[in-house]
């Protein structure tokens, strides 16, 4: 075998030990793609050594979605998870999702209708992880496609990637728990910045910290906002995408918790289609505060960008029930606001962060 970057081994260990804490006899489902080979080999080795079953679900699109199949199969089958896959979803003890695309724009040209059906079809797979019934982690493997998206060589991107994931997570957890305590004690959050003045209630809601558990990289603490509370406007200035389609410069206006006005400088149609996905897609499912100091610039990669220190993100759609969320939707789309160049966070009128720097 060719030379394997020693950081791959550390990364695999982090996933198996810290993120999941794999125990003997567990059935660990691993959803991934071929380009992650070196990490997958190492992860499967570590799981096997612990006396557990690594169950690899590797395909070209991300299992349980099969885009080639979904483009031709009868609609009623696409909208329903295969019984074999449902059984696996209901009986797995933990799951790893490690995306490793060859092309970040490589999604098959499925119609919006088919894509929505496929999303509905795989929803049961996410049930036990959205409720945190079992340990899970969503992560990536550094590929040329990600590097290209970030405007970097693969070697540069790998350095960035491993700086963001191979951290002293216990140290990060301490800092985030300190901020979280302050937020938990507050009733109202106000986000102010360029073209932005938005208030959200957290009354009765307690947040959670991800210090390298369910996401890798971790580095955020997050809440399920009170569903009918958001008021005001916000400009999301970090470029993002929706299932492979780029969307930039998103402006949203909220009244009583719902999006009443929306526009995007680029990808406006994609934004409007997402908002109209279902009843819950115009309400907020998450407020997250990025705290990972290893991430200093956006990479056009939500998993990393939303953890960037000095940013906040709001998700449209589904919320996490384990932290009190009640919003139901097939959508969960994190939109990111950079506060470092002139923004602030206020809790019940007290300034707690200014230009990305904590004042608490």
């Amino acid at each position: 075998m060719a030379f394997v970057d020693p950081r791959v081994g550390e990364y695999a260990q982090l996933i198996v030990e810290r993120c999941l804490g794999v125990q003997p006899g567990w059935q660990v489902l691993i959803r991934s793609q071929p380009a992650a080979r070196s990490a997958l080999d190492e992860i499967m080795r570590l799981i096997a050594r612990r006396g557990a079953y690594p169950l690899l679900r590797m395909s070209f699109s991300l299992w349980p979605i099969d885009e080639a199949w979904a483009s031709e199969a009868p609609a009623e089958l696409v909208g329903e998870l295969a019984p074999i896959d449902l059984y696996a979803s209901d009986h797995m003890d933990a799951r790893i999702t490690m995306e490793a695309p060859d092309n970040t724009r490589g999604a098959a040209p499925l119609s919006a209708e088919r894509r929505a059906l496929a999303r509905k079809g795989i929803a049961p797979f996410f049930r036990r992880t959205m409720t945190h019934e079992i340990p899970w982690v969503s992560c990536q493997f550094p590929t040329n496609a990600y590097a290209q998206e970030a405007g970097m060589t693969l070697a540069e991107y790998e350095d960035f990637f491993y700086r963001a994931v191979l951290r002293d997570w216990d140290e990060d957890a301490k800092a985030m728990n300190r901020y979280l305590e302050r937020f938990d004690a507050a009733k109202e959050v106000r986000i102010v910045g360029a073209e932005t003045d938005l208030t959200i209630s957290l009354r009765g809601r307690r947040g959670a910290v991800d210090s390298g558990h369910t996401n890798m990289p971790g580095g955020e603490f997050f809440f399920a906002p009170v569903e009918d509370s958001a008021e005001g406007t916000i400009l999301f200035d970090v470029p993002t995408d929706m299932e492979g389609a780029p969307v930039e410069g998103i402006r949203l206006t909220f009244r009583a918790g719902r999006v009443v006005e929306a526009s995007a400088e680029h990808g406006n149609d994609v934004l409007l289609a997402a908002l109209d996905m279902d009843e819950g897609s115009r309400a907020l499912g998450e407020l997250g505060i990025g705290c990972n100091t290893g991430i200093t610039q956006p990479m056009r990669n939500i998993l990393f960008d939303e953890k960037m220190a000095g940013t906040v993100h709001l998700a449209l759609g589904r919320s996490y029930t384990h932290i009190g969320g009640k919003n139901v939707s097939a959508l969960h789309w994190d939109l990111i606001k950079d506060l470092r160049a002139g923004g602030r966070l206020e809790l019940d009128g007290d300034l707690v962060q200014e230009n990305g720097t904590w004042l608490i």
Binding site: P34, M44, I47, P54, L56, S59, D66, A68, L77, I84
Partner: protein, 355 residues
């Protein structure tokens, strides 16, 4: 895309005769992407589900190498459920390196194969359809001694054939063997007899192998007597190539085995279990599209003018009673002076039929 890939995908889906609502496991490797995606689309068109399961190394996965031995002999509940509930499966090999897995201890491979055998029994018994085949990769071409483009021409030439015509030809051969009791194989270093008494043959045309092109039997388990020497071609199994295999049978059992290379692997494999020293299959190669040996059993055993005998497990649906975790087909060339006799009558000489 090469239009032959779409035709190949349709052929494979025809082989399993996929029906609406079926859950079909599509087991393959990353290099087969164009074929796997074409199969998924074709299964979708026919209203069946495509459950793609890719592996880097189908033999020696990290689990097989690293799992504690007591775990290796078991299947997880999810894996067992998947095999038991699949209506069909396809195994499409697309190796990057044909020697992957050869460094795994035979004991570990054996434990894994034993764990997989029972739930696959309905497939072995033909109660559920499956098909095994190759996608043309550099590694397979290299072992065949060919450039990739030449190997692609060869592979598509061997699979995209008139299967109905070949089926009729093979049925004529099977009809003659079905009537016979005793088979004698004579050739270089070889004089072996065994009985087919009470056994019916099976014709492989668009069945579980692609390419197909063989007529095969399960010999009466205690009948083999004599010697066979695989002097022309190496016996290939699990990535190993064993040259000059010579087997002597008494009462159906191998009592003496030797090889001129990798003898240790031969002897170790024959000691896997009780059934590993008895014959599970006698097959007659009938595919005219395959004219040379390429160290690839799936193709080699179908080569016209050859026969093959497998040590290990037999096929219960055609009367086979031998059970083993192994099934190792070894190919014997008969085109250079060999012959097949049925109840004393020569039916094939130097690879030419005299029916």
């Amino acid at each position: 895309m090469d239009p032959r890939i779409e035709a190949y995908a349709r052929l494979l889906v025809d082989c399993i005769r996929a029906e609406p609502g079926w859950q079909v496991l599509v087991r393959s490797q990353p290099l087969a992407r164009p074929l796997v995606e074409a199969i998924s689309r074709e299964l979708g068109r026919r209203g069946a589900r495509s459950l793609v399961r890719l592996r880097f190394d189908p033999i020696g996965s990290a689990f097989v190498r690293e799992a504690p031995l007591e775990l290796l002999g078991t299947l997880s509940d999810i894996e067992l459920h998947e095999i038991e509930n699949a209506d069909s499966y396809m195994a499409i090999l697309a190796p990057e390196n044909n020697r992957e897995g050869t460094d795994v201890a035979a004991e570990r491979l054996g434990l894994r194969q034993q764990a997989l055998r029972d739930p696959h029994e309905p497939f072995l018994r033909d109660e559920k359809p499956w098909v095994g085949c190759y996608y043309p990769t550099e590694a397979v071409a290299q072992d065949a001694g060919m450039a990739l483009s030449a190997f692609e021409d060869f592979l598509f030439g061997a699979v995209l054939v008139d299967w109905e015509a070949l089926r009729r030809e093979m049925e004529r051969i099977a009809e003659r063997f079905d009537r016979a009791a005793n088979v004698r194989i004579v050739g270089d270093g070889t004089d072996l007899t065994f009985s087919l008494d009470g056994r019916q043959g099976k014709v492989d045309a668009m069945e579980a192998n692609m390419p197909g092109g063989e007529v095969f039997y399960c010999p009466v388990e205690d009948s083999a007597e004599g010697v066979i020497t695989y002097s022309e071609y190496p016996a290939c199994y699990l990535g190993h190539e064993v040259s000059g295999v010579r087997l002597r049978f008494e009462g159906g059992r191998i009592v003496d085995a030797s090889a001129t290379s990798d003898e240790e692997f031969l002897l170790g494999t024959l000691d896997t279990d009780d059934g590993a020293r008895r014959l599970g299959e006698f097959g007659i190669g009938c595919n005219p599209g395959i004219t040379r040996h390429m160290k690839n059993t799936l193709f080699d055993e179908k080569m016209e003018g050859t026969v093959h005998l497998a040590v290990g497990t037999g096929f219960p649906q055609i009367g086979g009673q031998n059970k083993s975790a192994i099934h190792w087909d070894m190919v014997k060339e008969l085109r250079h002076g060999g012959r097949i006799e049925l109840d004393g009558e020569v039916v094939q000489e130097s690879g030419t039929w005299r029916l």
